[in-house]
C-alpha cells in the first residue's frame, strides 16, 4: 500500500472514530435536502427538474464544513508533537500532506455520494440536464479540493484548531465572494484579474457542464498551491 494511502486511511478512520464524519455528513445531507426539496423551490411547480438549488446551497455549506474537516489535520499533530513521529517514519513531507488531503477529499466525496439519491429522485420528476448535474458534482469536487488545500495550509501554520478554522474561512472568503465583489468595482486588467481569481465564475462554468481548460487550470493551481505551501510549512522546521 502506498504511504499516501496509509496516511489517508488512518486519517479517515479517525474522522469516523470521532463521530465528526457522521455529524458533518448528516448535517450536510439535512441542509442540502431541506433546500433541494422544501425551501423556496419550485421543483414541483416547474416541469423542469434541476439540482440548481442543491448546488447553490452546497456551494455555501461546503465552504463552511471543509475548514471544520481540515482544521485538525496538522494543527493537532503540531500541538501533541505526533508530527515528529510521522515525519521520522519512512515517508516524505509531501506524502504526509497529500495523504491528509486525500483523506479530507474522500470524506467530502462520501458526503456527495450520499446526495446521489436526490439526483435520482429529481430526475424522475421531469427532464433533467444530466450533463449539468455531473458538471455540478465535478465542480463541487474541484471546489472542495481547493478549500481542503487551503484548510490544510492554515492547519499547518498553527497548533490551534480554532485558528486554523477561522483562518481557512478568512482566506476562503476571498475566493468565495470577495474577489468577485472587488472585480465588480474595478475595470480593465485589474478587474479581469480579480474576476479570474474569483472561484464562483469557474464553479459556475464547470457546473453548466462546460469543461474548459481555463477553469481546470484555475482549480489545479489553487490545489497545488495550497499543498505546496502546506509542505513548505512542514519543512519550515529546517529553515531556522
Amino acid at each position: 500500500m502506498p504511504a499516501i494511502w496509509i496516511i489517508a486511511k488512518r486519517e479517515i478512520n479517525s474522522f469516523f472514530d470521532s463521530l465528526m464524519a457522521y455529524i458533518l455528513i448528516v448535517v450536510f445531507l439535512g441542509l442540502s435536502g431541506f433546500f433541494t426539496w422544501l425551501y423556496g423551490n419550485d421543483i414541483f411547480l416547474r416541469g423542469q427538474a434541476s439540482l440548481d438549488a442543491f448546488f447553490g446551497i452546497s456551494f455555501w455549506s461546503l465552504f463552511f464544513f471543509i475548514p471544520a474537516i481540515t482544521m485538525k489535520t496538522l494543527a493537532e499533530e503540531n500541538k501533541t508533537g505526533t508530527i515528529e513521529l510521522l515525519i521520522t517514519k519512512s515517508v516524505s513531507d509531501w506524502q504526509i500532506v497529500t495523504g491528509k488531503f486525500l483523506a479530507c477529499l474522500v470524506l467530502v466525496a462520501i458526503a456527495l455520494v450520499c446526495t446521489l439519491p436526490y439526483y435520482v429522485t429529481v430526475s424522475k420528476l421531469g427532464n433533467i440536464d444530466h450533463a449539468s448535474v455531473w458538471g455540478g458534482y465535478f465542480a463541487m469536487i474541484l471546489m472542495s479540493a481547493s478549500y481542503i488545500s487551503i484548510g490544510l495550509f492554515t492547519s499547518s501554520t498553527t497548533n490551534n484548531q480554532i485558528i486554523s478554522f477561522l483562518l481557512a474561512l478568512f482566506i476562503g472568503l476571498f475566493f468565495q465572494i470577495l474577489f468577485d465583489v472587488i472585480s465588480n468595482n474595478m475595470t480593465g486588467t485589474t478587474g479581469a484579474v480579480f474576476d479570474y481569481l474569483s472561484l464562483r465564475n469557474h464553479f459556475d462554468s464547470i457546473s453548466r457542464g462546460v469543461i474548459d481548460s481555463k477553469d481546470l487550470i484555475y482549480f489545479f493551481s489553487l490545489i497545488t498551491g495550497g499543498l505546496i505551501l502546506s509542505e513548505a510549512m512542514l519543512s519550515k522546521r529546517n529553515w531556522k
Partner: protein, 309 residues
C-alpha cells in the same frame, strides 16, 4: 550497524544548540548520551532521526547519508522522541498496524510482527485499549513498540524513562538492555544511574559540545587522575608526626588529617602513582596498626558535575 556523526552543527538563532559534534557508534553498542537540560541531546537525536536538518555536517549509516537517503535511514532507525508523543485516540493495535505498514513491514508479516511487539513490550493486557487510556508506563511501552516494530538496526531513544516511577524505570531499562544485545542503541538521559545501568559507553555533552567519551569506568579513572586513600590508624604518635612520616614517601603528594578522631588520614598520591604499598610498609616500620585503608572512588556524578559546570 555503525553510525558516524560528522561535524554536526545546528543553530537556533545565534546559539549553537549543537556545535561541531563528531563521534562514531559501533554496531551493537549501547551509547548513553548524557548532559544537563539544554545541552543539545535532543537536537542531535532529531538530526540523526531525520526530523531536522543540520546546518553543517552529516550522519552516516553504512553508506547512507541523512542528506541524500533520509527515507532509507528512517526505515533502518527506530526513534522514540522526547516526551513520547502518541495518537491518544487510537487503539494500541491499530496504532501498531499503522506504524508497521508505514515503515513498510512486509504485508504478510505485519500480523505476526505486531503480535510479537505486544509480547516483547508487555502490552498483552492493554492491547485493546485506546492509547489515551493507558498509564504513562504503558504508553512508554507503546512508544518503544512503535520504535522497534520494523526491526530497525539502530534505536534512538530520547529520555526513554523520564516521568516513570522506579518500578517502571527498572522494567524499561531491562527492555532496552535486552534490545541492546542485537541493536545499536543511542539513548539520552540526564540521570546518571541510568547510563551506568544500561550503557557500554557514555558521551557527555555540554552546551552543544562533546566533553567526554568513554566507558563508565574509563570516565571515572580519567577524572580520578590521582589516587586517593583513606586510612585509619591506631597509634600513640601525634597526627603531626604521622603526617610528616607519610609525606616523606616519594609517591605521596599530600596528606590531610580527617575529622576529629585525629587518626583518619586522606593520602593523595602523585599523578599516576600508587601509595598503597608504601603506606602499608610505613605503618609496619613505625608499629602503627592499620585499621583501614580504602581507595576513594570518584563517582560518575563528580565527573559529570566537573565536566558540565
Amino acid at each position: 550497524m555503525a553510525i558516524e556523526i560528522e561535524n554536526l552543527t545546528k543553530r537556533y538563532g545565534l546559539q549553537n544548540a549543537v556545535d561541531n559534534i563528531s563521534f562514531k557508534v559501533n554496531t551493537r553498542e549501547v551509547l548513553g548520551f548524557l548532559g544537563p537540560n539544554g545541552a543539545g541531546k535532543s537536537t542531535t537525536m532529531k538530526i540523526i532521526a531525520c526530523f531536522i536538518a543540520p546546518h553543517q555536517g552529516d550522519v552516516r549509516l553504512d553508506n547512507l547519508s541523512i542528506h541524500s537517503n533520509p527515507d532509507e535511514i528512517k526505515r533502518r532507525i527506530g526513534y522514540l522522541p522526547e516526551n513520547n508523543p502518541l495518537y491518544l485516540d487510537m487503539y494500541v493495535m491499530d496504532y501498531l498496524f499503522f506504524v508497521a505498514s508505514i515503515q513498510r513491514v512486509e504485508k504478510s508479516t505485519i500480523d505476526s510482527r505486531v503480535r510479537e511487539m505486544v509480547g516483547v513490550c508487555g502490552l498483552s493486557n492493554e492491547k485493546h485499549k485506546r492509547i489515551g487510556e493507558l498509564s504513562k508506563g504503558y504508553r512508554q511501552r507503546v512508544g518503544l513498540a512503535q520504535a522497534i516494530i520494523h526491526n530497525p538496526e539502530v534505536l534512538i531513544l530520547d529520555e526513554p524513562t523520564s516521568g516513570l516511577d522506579p518500578n517502571q524505570i527498572v522494567e524499561i531499562r531491562k527492555l532496552i538492555k535486552e534490545l541492546g544485545k542485537e541493536k545499536t542503541v543511542i539513548l539520552s538521559t540526564h540521570i546518571l544511574p541510568e547510563v551506568e545501568a544500561t550503557c557500554d559507553r557514555i558521551l557527555i555533552i555540554n552546551r552543544g559540545r562533546l566533553v567526554a567519551d568513554g566507558s563508565p569506568s574509563d570516565l571515572r579513572k580519567q577524572a580520578q587522575g590521582q589516587e586517593i586513600l583513606n586510612i585509619q590508624l591506631e597509634t600513640e604518635n601525634s597526627p603531626a608526626t604521622i603526617k610528616e612520616k607519610l609525606m616523606q614517601l616519594n609517591t605521596v603528594a599530600s596528606v590531610e588529617s580527617e575529622g576529629n578522631g585525629q587518626k583518619f588520614f586522606k593520602v593523595v598520591s602523585k599523578t599516576e602513582m600508587s601509595s598503597r604499598k608504601n603506606v602499608f610498609r610505613t605503618c609496619v616500620d613505625n608499629n602503627w596498626i592499620l585499621l583501614e585503608m580504602t581507595g576513594q572512588e570518584t563517582r560518575l556524578e563528580d565527573v559529570f558535575r566537573e565536566l558540565t559546570n
